[in-house]
Amino acid sequence: MPPAVTLASAATAGGFLLVLAIILPAAGVLLALAFGRHAERIALLLMPAGFAIAIAILADVWHSQASLVAVMGGWAPPLGIALRADGLSAMMLVTTALVICAVGLFARGDFGMPAGGGEARAPLVFWTMLMGVWSALNAIWLGRDLFNLYVALELLTFSAVPLVCLDGRAETLAAALRYLLFALVGSVLYLLGVALFYGAYGTLDIGLLAGRVRAEPVVWVSAALMTAGLLAKTALFPLHLWLPPAHAGAPAAASAVLSALVVKGSFFLAVRLWFDVLPGLPGVPAAQALGTLGAAAIIFGSVLALRQERLKLLIAYSTIAQIGYLFLLFPLSTGAAAAGIWGSVAWTGGVYQLVSHAIAKAAMFMAAGLIGEALGHDRIAGLGGIGRALPMTIFAFGLGGMSLMGLPPSGGFVAKLMLLTASVTEGQWWWAVVILLGGLLAAAYVFRVLAPALAGADEPLRLCARVSRRREAVVLALAVGALLLGLLPLRPSELLQIGRPAAPTAIMR
C-alpha cells in the first residue's frame, strides 16, 4: 500500500474558488427553498457571482498555467476528496456559467413569480432546479473522486428530471419517467464500476487511480460498465430513447439547459474515465466501437431531424447527431495516436464541439421557444413568414445552425475542422466521410427551418403573443457567441492542454 496521504493533491491558493463554484448554487437551492417567493431573485443575484467565479477560475488557471486544486476539509486523497480545475474544467465552467446566465435572463419572462408576491409552483421549481443543475455540473467539471462524481451525477439527474415535466402534461410526464428510469439504470452501472475500482485499487481519486490501474480484467469490466452507464445518460445512439420526448417536451428554457449542458455532464465523465483514469488502457477496438456509435448517431440523428414535423423535435434529434460528433474524439485520440500532437488536435476538436454545441444549441432551443410562443405552435410547415415577425430570433437560429453545419467562422467549424484534420492525418478517413455527411445533413435540416421562415407567408401571419425584444436579444447574443467562438481558436486549445495527461502519472508518483 502506498502511504495514505500523498503530496500530490496539496491545495492551491485559488482552491476556495472551486469550492465556491459548487457551493454557491447549492446555497441558492437552500435559499430558494427556504424563501420560496424570492427564488427568482435569489437565482438572478447568484448568477453574476457564479459567472465571476467561473471567470476567476479560468483566469487563475490560464495565468498560472497549472491546475487549481482544493482538498476538502484538509483530508488528502485517497481518504478524502479533492477538487481540481484543469484547462478543460475551466472551459466547461465558463461555458456552463454563460449558458445558465443566458437561460436565466431568458426565463425571466416565462418563470416570473406571480404578481401577488406569493410563491408559485413552476417558478420555484424552475429556479431551484436551475441552481441544482449548475451546482451538479460544476461538481462534475471539478470532481476528482469517482464516488463524489456519482453523487454529482445523481444531483444532475434529480435536478433535470423535474424540469422536463414542469408543465405537467401527460406526454412530458411519461418522458420524464423514462428519462429518470433509464438514467437510474445508467447510474447503477456506473456505481458498479466504482465499486470494482475501489475493490481493486483502494482509492477512487482519479489521479491516484491513474497511477495504479493495470491492464487486467477488473479494469475492463468496470470501465465497460461505467462507460455503458454514462452512454445511457448521454443518450448516445442507440440509447437515445428518452431524449427526444424529454428535450422537445420541456419548456424552452429548460430544453436549452438539458440539451446544451446536462447530457454533456455524463459525456464529460466518460472522457475523464478514458483519458484521465485509464490513459490508453481501453484500447483501440473499444475506442473504434465508441466512434462507430458516434458515427451512427450523426447519420441517424440528422436523418431523423430532417424528418420531424415539429421544430423542437427537430432540434432534439439534432442534439442526438451532435452528441455523435463528441464520440469521434475517442477513436481519434486513443492508441498510437494519443502520443502525438494529432491526438491532442482531435481531443481539442472534440472539446470544442462540446462547447460550441452547448452555446449554439441553447440559443436554438430558446429561439424555438420564442417562435412557439409567438405562433402558438412549433410545426415547421407553419413557420412561413416568421422571419419578418421575429427577425432577431430567426437570425439567432440561423447562426446556431451555422455552428451545427460547421460553417466558418463558427465554433462548430473549428471543431469539425480539427476532427477532420485528425482523422485525415491518422488515416482514419472513414470518420471524415461521416463528419462531412453530417454537415450536409445538418445544412439540410437547418435549411428546412430557415427556408419557410425566411420566405413570405402564404397567408398573413397571426401572432398569438408578443415576444419581448429583451428575450430576443438574449438569444441573439448567445448565438453570436457561438459564432465568435471560432474567432479565438488558438488560445483555448492551449488552455485545454493545461493539466492534461503526461502530467498526472508523473506528478502522482
Partner: protein
C-alpha cells in the same frame, strides 16, 4: 499598413459594414439605393493594390489578404459589374417592399464574391467562398415563387455539397503543409509532394467544379439564373461564379506538370463547353439559354486551366483570367439586356437588340470585340493539339447558342408594354456593354499578354471569324430544323436526380421505423447491456 493594404481591407469591410447597418430597419429600407457604393473600394483596390498583402491580427481569424495579377483583373472587373448591377438593382427595386432583404443578401454575396479574389489563407478563403455560395440563395429565391424555391433548393444543396468537398480538400491541404502555415500559397506549393495528392486534387476539382458548373454539376445554373431577378442573375452569372475560377487558379499546382490531372480537367471542361451548347439550343427562356452559355464558357475556362496544369504552364492562369474577366462583363450585360427588354417591350426592341447582338457575338469571339482578345489570350495555353481544335470549334457552338439567344430574346419581348424605359435601367446596361469592349482591350494591352499588331494581324482575324461564320450557318440550320429538337427541361439531368429522392425518402422511413423500435424500453435495455458486454470484450481484445 500602407494605403494599398488598407484599401484591400476596406474593400472587404465596406460591404460587411453596410450589411451590419441593415440590422437597423430604417437603414435597411434605404440600403437598395446605396448598393452601388459597396464595391467601389474594391474597384479602387484593383487599380492601386496589386502586389499588396496584409495579414490581420489573429483576433480576426488571422485573415490574410493579398492581391496578385489574376486576382486584380478579376477583382476589378467583378467590382465594376457589381457597381453597374447595383445601380440597375436600385432602379428595379424602387418601391418594392422586400428591397431591404434583397439588399442584405446582395451585400453578403458581394462581400464573398469580391473576397475570394483577395483572401490568401485557407480559412478566410473558405469563409468568403461559403459566403458567396450560400448567400446567393437569397438572391435566387427572391421572388418567392415555387419555381424560385425549387431553384434555390437545388442550388443550395449543390453549394453545400461543394463546400463539403472543399472543406475536406482544404483539410488535406493544411495537413500536408509543413509548419503551421495556412497560406494558400504554401499549401499549394506543398501539394505536389502531399501523400494525399490525388484525393486533394479530386476534392478541390469537385468543389470548384460544382461552382463553375462542370457537367454534371451544372444543373443548378439554368434553374438559379432563370429564377433570379435580372440584376441578381447578372452578378451571379458574371461575378459570383468566378469564385470557382479563382479557386481553380489559386489551388491547382501550376508549378508542377500533372499531365493526367490536367488532361482530365481539360476534357471535363470541353465536355461542358459542348454540352452547354447542345442543351442550350433546346431552351426557350432567354435567361436559361444564357445560363447554358455560362456552362459552356466556364467549361472552356476550365479546359484552359486543365491544359495549364497538364503542362505546368503558369501562363495559362493569366489567359484564363482575361477570358474570365471578359465573361464577367459580357454575361452581366446580357442578363441586364434581358431585363431591359422585359421592361421595354417589343416596341423598343431593336435599340436593345443591336448592342445585345454585338455582346453576344463577342462571347463567340467576333473580331475586334473583347471576346476575340479573350480567345487570343487563351490560344497559347490551349495549344494546337486536339484540345485547341475542340476549343476553336466551341466558338462556333457559342455563336450558334448566342444567335439562338438573340432569337429567343426577341420572341420574349412583351408586345403590350407602353411608356419609356427608365434611363436608370438603360444607362447601366449600356455602360456594361461598353465596358465589355473597352476593358478587355485595356487589359490585353496593359497586362502584356499581346500587342496591338498581333491582335489585328490578318491570320488572327481569320482564325477568329471563321468559327463565327460556321456558327452562323449552323444557326440557320437550327432555325430551319430546330423544331425537331427535343424540349429538355431546365437543368436537364437534375430531373433524374430529383427522381432519386423517392429512394432517399424510403430509407428515411426505414430509419424512422428503426427509431421507434430502438426507443422501446426493453430493446433499449438489451442494447445497453449488449453495449457494456461489447465494450468489455473490445477492451479485452485490445490487449
Amino acid at each position: 499598413m500602407t494605403g494599398a493594404e488598407a484599401l484591400l481591407a476596406v474593400s472587404l469591410a465596406t460591404p460587411l459594414a453596410m450589411l451590419a447597418a441593415c440590422l437597423s430597419p430604417r437603414l435597411r429600407a434605404r440600403m437598395p439605393g446605396l448598393l452601388a457604393i459597396a464595391p467601389v473600394p474594391a474597384l479602387a483596390a484593383a487599380f492601386l493594390s496589386p502586389g499588396a498583402g496584409v495579414a490581420l491580427p489573429p483576433a480576426l481569424l488571422g485573415l490574410t489578404l493579398a492581391l496578385d495579377m489574376p486576382g486584380a483583373i478579376l477583382l476589378g472587373t467583378a467590382a465594376l459589374l457589381w457597381i453597374i448591377a447595383g445601380i440597375y438593382a436600385a432602379a428595379s427595386l424602387r418601391g418594392q417592399a422586400n428591397g431591404g432583404r434583397f439588399a442584405a443578401w446582395w451585400l453578403l454575396t458581394l462581400a464573398g464574391s469580391l473576397g475570394v479574389f483577395i483572401t490568401a489563407d485557407l480559412v478566410s478563403f473558405y469563409l468568403v467562398f461559403a459566403m458567396v455560395s450560400l448567400a446567393a440563395y437569397g438572391l435566387v429565391v427572391d421572388d418567392g415563387t415555387p419555381r424560385a424555391r425549387r431553384a434555390g433548393g437545388v442550388y443550395v444543396s449543390l453549394a453545400v455539397l461543394g463546400e463539403a468537398f472543399l472543406l475536406m480538400g482544404f483539410v488535406l491541404l493544411a495537413a500536408a503543409t509543413p509548419g503551421s502555415s495556412l497560406l494558400i500559397h504554401d499549401a499549394v506549393a506543398a501539394l505536389p509532394a502531399s501523400p494525399w495528392r490525388g484525393s486533394t486534387l479530386l476534392l478541390l476539382i469537385l468543389g470548384f467544379g460544382l461552382k463553375v458548373g462542370l457537367v454534371p454539376g451544372h444543373v443548378w445554373m439554368p434553374l438559379a439564373y432563370s429564377a433570379a431577378p435580372a440584376p441578381a442573375a447578372a452578378v451571379l452569372s458574371g461575378a459570383a461564379v468566378k469564385a470557382g475560377v479563382i479557386g481553380l487558379i489559386r489551388f491547382l499546382p501550376f508549378g508542377a506538370a500533372l499531365p493526367d490531372w490536367g488532361g482530365a480537367l481539360a476534357a471535363a471542361g470541353l465536355v461542358s463547353a459542348f454540352y452547354g451548347v447542345a442543351v442550350g439550343i433546346t431552351q426557350a427562356n432567354p435567361k436559361t439559354v444564357l445560363a447554358y452559355s455560362s456552362v459552356s464558357q466556364m467549361g472552356l475556362i476550365t479546359a484552359v486551366l486543365g491544359m495549364g496544369l497538364a503542362g505546368g504552364n503558369a501562363g495559362a492562369v493569366l489567359g484564363a483570367s482575361l477570358y474570365a474577366a471578359h465573361h464577367i462583363l459580357v454575361k452581366g450585360a446580357l442578363f441586364l439586356a434581358v431585363g431591359v427588354v422585359q421592361a421595354g417591350g417589343a416596341r423598343r426592341l431593336w435599340p436593345v437588340l443591336l448592342p445585345a447582338a454585338m455582346l453576344a457575338l463577342s462571347l463567340a469571339g467576333l473580331p475586334l470585340t473583347g471576346g476575340a482578345l479573350a480567345k487570343l489570350a487563351v490560344k497559347a495555353p490551349l495549344g494546337d493539339g486536339i484540345v485547341g481544335q475542340f476549343a476553336t470549334w466551341s466558338a462556333a457552338g457559342s455563336t450558334l447558342l448566342m444567335l439562338h439567344f438573340l432569337a429567343r430574346l426577341a420572341a420574349a419581348a412583351a408586345p403590350a408594354i407602353q411608356g419609356p424605359v427608365p434611363a436608370r435601367i438603360v444607362l447601366p446596361w449600356l455602360a456594361a456593354a461598353l465596358a465589355s469592349v473597352a476593358i478587355p482591350w485595356a487589359l490585353f494591352l496593359t497586362a502584356g499578354s499581346g500587342t496591338l499588331s498581333e491582335a489585328l494581324a490578318p491570320a488572327t482575324l481569320w482564325a477568329a471569324i471563321w468559327p463565327v461564320l460556321a456558327g452562323g450557318v449552323l444557326a440557320i440550320g437550327l432555325r430551319r430544323w430546330g423544331r425537331w429538337l427535343p424540349r429538355l427541361p431546365e437543368g436537364d439531368v437534375v430531373v433524374l436526380a430529383e427522381g432519386a429522392t423517392g429512394a432517399a425518402r424510403a430509407s428515411g422511413e426505414a430509419l424512422e421505423r428503426a427509431d421507434v423500435l430502438l426507443r422501446q424500453w426493453p430493446v433499449a435495455g438489451v442494447v445497453l447491456l449488449a453495449l457494456a458486454v461489447i465494450l468489455g470484450a473490445a477492451m479485452l481484445a485490445g490487449h
